[in-house]
Amino acid sequence: MGELAWLGRLNVGGLAGVLILAPVLTGLVVFLVRTKWSRKGIVTGTGWILSLGALALFGFGAVRRDTVSFMPPQIPGISWDAVVTGLDLLLIVGFVAIGFLLRRPIVAALAVLQAGLVLWVELSHSVRLEHPPLYVDWLAIIMVMIVSVIGSIVAVYGLPYMKEHEKHLGIPDTASKRPRFFLTILIFLGAMNGLVLSDNLLWLFFFWEVTTLCSFLLIRHDETADAEANAFRALWINMAGGVLFAGGLVVLSHAVGAVSIQRIVESRASVVTNPIALVGLGLLCVAGFTKAAQMPFHSWLLGAMVAPTPVSALLHSSTMVKAGVYLIARLAPAFHDTAMSDMIAVAGGFTFAAAALLAIGQTNAKKVLAYSTISNLGLIIACAGLNSPLSMAAAVMLIIFHAISKALLFMAAGVVEHGIWSRDIEDMQGLVSRMPLTTLTMVIGILSMLLPPFGVLIAKLAAIEASVRMPAALLLLVVGSTLTVMFWTKWTGRLLTADPSVVFPRIEHLHSMYFVPLLMLTIGALGFSLMVVPLLTQLIVPAVAQYYRSVQSDVTTLVQFDNVLGVPWALVFGVLALAVLWPLLYFRGPRTQRTGVYLCGEQVETAATTTFRTAAETAVPVTIRGHYFERAVGETVHARWMMTVSIAALVLMLGAAFLQR
């Protein structure tokens, strides 16, 4: 550690500046210098800068071993608070302009409402801004690593993807919209870094609204009628969330007299006995629900799938939706042990189970992935609502593992889409014979979402254990987990349904900027799962301990998780790897005879695909379809009651603020 001590002396303000501003600046260069090579170099280079910056921040945290509140670099004559406020107002003016340009008055109205509320907070004298606006602890470092590393991987993957995308749409290179696309993506990454490093809620709000704007621009990227409509929906739902955020800020600033998250968490004792302050926190949490696409706000994320796949990969894994759960998890210690917290757990648990149910009925791969994201974010929010060190450890683990697996799955789905030009799971039947390599990464991605020995499952175990004290949440978690297994297994089944006539599938050629990101995330999904015990004890437990320290000093409840920590995961991995490898070696070659399927003796042996003889010796090829149970789990079947229940859960959650423990 001695030679790394310099990391602890890093100027963390400058480092934060790089993490936030570097992508914005390089994005502008990409936008202005419109050549293919500069774009490739700069986007990849920005990925390296962000990743190294995140690594440096990690080193800083590892050496300091403590949380740090800090100021951005001091520049004489510049007040950063004023700059952020100014930019915030500029952003809101931008929203008003968008509202007028799109002829959507609601956007302008929401923007004006936000401006009013933010100015109210700024101008009220109860708020003292002497607290440094930025803050870094393990949770923030973990988030920065996710945003910077996974976000960059997705951005690099976007380079070849957007090229093929425009080629497919017939857009000439001269009219390419890629410069704007990558500018938005890079600003998005910078804003996310800013969001997770902000301690001042006004700053956080600014970055929050930047991500709303970026996601709007990215969803709208193709400018089709469909894209416009869905981008508008994402915009107004998230802006409505922004209004709730700003409203919560007004309430909090008056009830607590602070807009610093740390100050609010530190004054938990007075917060939990003050219903008004709790309502303020509750409004912020509802804002988190909108951004995390929880029911009843989930429709925007489903609509967002019209965007090019790199956008989906970004929105679903490391940015946007993760901002929502991050905010709730970040605030959770402030409302620890309240009825409101319990209701958040129930509301999150409900979305977890309900979205998993709806995923069963979908044939569109991206829609299944979207429902799965909604569902998993519900689980993370349920963990935050359960609000114990163990559940929070589960939440942080889920944030990490879900980001890796979901980015991998979306990127694989994008490669498949450019291979077969379809997003339909039915069209992916037998993909293993056509694109074996991509299918392999996809299957690993899917299995890593639901089975041992992968990280998501281990987090789920912790979540179930933490929920035992709350029967309602427990039941929702158990039901949701079972439904989750169902839709993933069905999908994997389609991918693997191979025609026996294809004995040795030809391995497809992948662009290196497809292959390397897929490989990195596959290794990530496997490697982090393998190292789950050190990850948990060295990183996640300290993170949880740090941000619960004002609530309870000991994290002994985590020790109960020893049952899982005691399982020798490396051994389990080894045994399972052996079980996978020996049959591949044994059932190979001349020893194993290849055969067609059983068709009651009516098989046409000479046919190229599986075919049988029916009446009058007609040869009929076998067709296989998946089951989607539309009548039982179709979206429209359940839409109404699910909306009602989820709205009721949110109303009850806010109402629960008035219940005293």
């Binding site: 693997l496 191979a498 059932f587 399927v597 068709l599 076998v622």
Partner: protein, 287 residues
């Protein structure tokens, strides 16, 4: 006992016990149907015969599926015997179940596809009940570890009577007994053939059969848990549960998957939740 010795002993004894129980099942079923039935050792003869066959496969994934199914069954039983985490154990078991399903899906065959589709639904039907039973254990011991049950000084059945019933239903589904044999059946059904197992043969099928031996012992072990204080009573409960599924198999007809899922998600989960609620109230589980 030394854990390694215990593990090794389990590896040897469990398949013998499981095979014998299955042989007994075939004998009893035959007698109930007015047939003589095969020798008790028939399941072992079957496995031996299958192992001697020339390997035939439709694709290379089938072998992986069968091998993982066996491996997870063994692993789960070992975890059970060695007092490990029951929740982890259930998910290890689920890994095997999913792999078997994928093995069935991996072949473009109408029968195995149908079987796999329905096996997914069977899993949907029994999985929550297994997890809820383990949660019932946790509520009383404060831990998911199997060892914590042994440390308890009273039989679990006194507080979890309904789980004897649900566990019997789960065994019925897992063993594909009527009326729950929707994905594969022991009786001849034209539209199913052998359902999910149709396209497995030779050594692969032998591995699956072997896995069934281990799994049966594990499932009965869960019933035995309900009266761990006296192992004879526990064993009697396990046998009673097993023989009631055999009886059920012979006196009922196969039902549809729709019925299966709705029955288990209403009656099954409903009763299990009622039992859990009673435990919450009785024990005043601390928040």
């Amino acid at each position: 006992m030394n854990p390694i010795a215990l593990g090794a002993l389990t590896l040897v004894i469990a398949p013998i016990l499981g095979g014998l129980l299955m042989g007994l099942d075939r004998r009893i079923t035959a007698r109930l149907q007015n047939r003589l039935g095969p020798p008790i050792l028939q399941p072992f003869y079957d496995v031996g015969k299958l192992m001697g066959k020339q390997p035939v496969a439709c694709n290379s994934f089938q072998g992986v599926a069968a091998s993982l199914y066996l491996m997870t069954s063994v692993l789960a039983l070992l975890m059970f015997v060695l007092g490990q985490d029951l929740l982890v154990l259930l998910f290890v078991l689920a890994l095997g179940a999913v792999m078997l399903i994928l093995g069935g899906f991996s072949v473009k065959s109408p029968y195995s596809q149908l079987g796999s589709q329905r096996e997914v639904l069977q899993m949907l039907a029994y999985e929550p009940l297994l997890v809820l039973m383990v949660v019932g254990v946790y509520l009383q011991t404060g831990s998911f570890s199997a060892n914590s049950v042994l440390a308890l000084d009273r039989p679990l059945l006194l507080t979890m009577p309904i789980f004897l019933v649900t566990q019997t239903l789960v065994i019925g589904i897992k063993l594909h007994k009527s009326p729950f044999d929707v994905s594969a059946s022991h009786h001849a059904h034209q539209e199913l053939v052998r359902g999910i197992y149709t396209e497995f043969s030779g050594l692969q099928l032998a591995l699956i059969e072997l896995a069934h031996f281990y799994e049966l012992v594990l499932l009965l072990g869960f019933v035995w848990f309900l009266w761990h204080t006296n192992w004879l009573v526990g064993a009697a409960l396990a046998l009673a549960a097993y023989f009631s599924t055999i009886l059920m198999d012979n006196v009922t007809a196969r039902m549809t998957w729709r019925w299966l899922v709705s029955f288990m998600w209403t009656w099954g989960i409903g009763l299990a939740v009622a039992n859990l609620a009673a435990i919450y109230f009785m024990l005043r589980v601390p928040r």
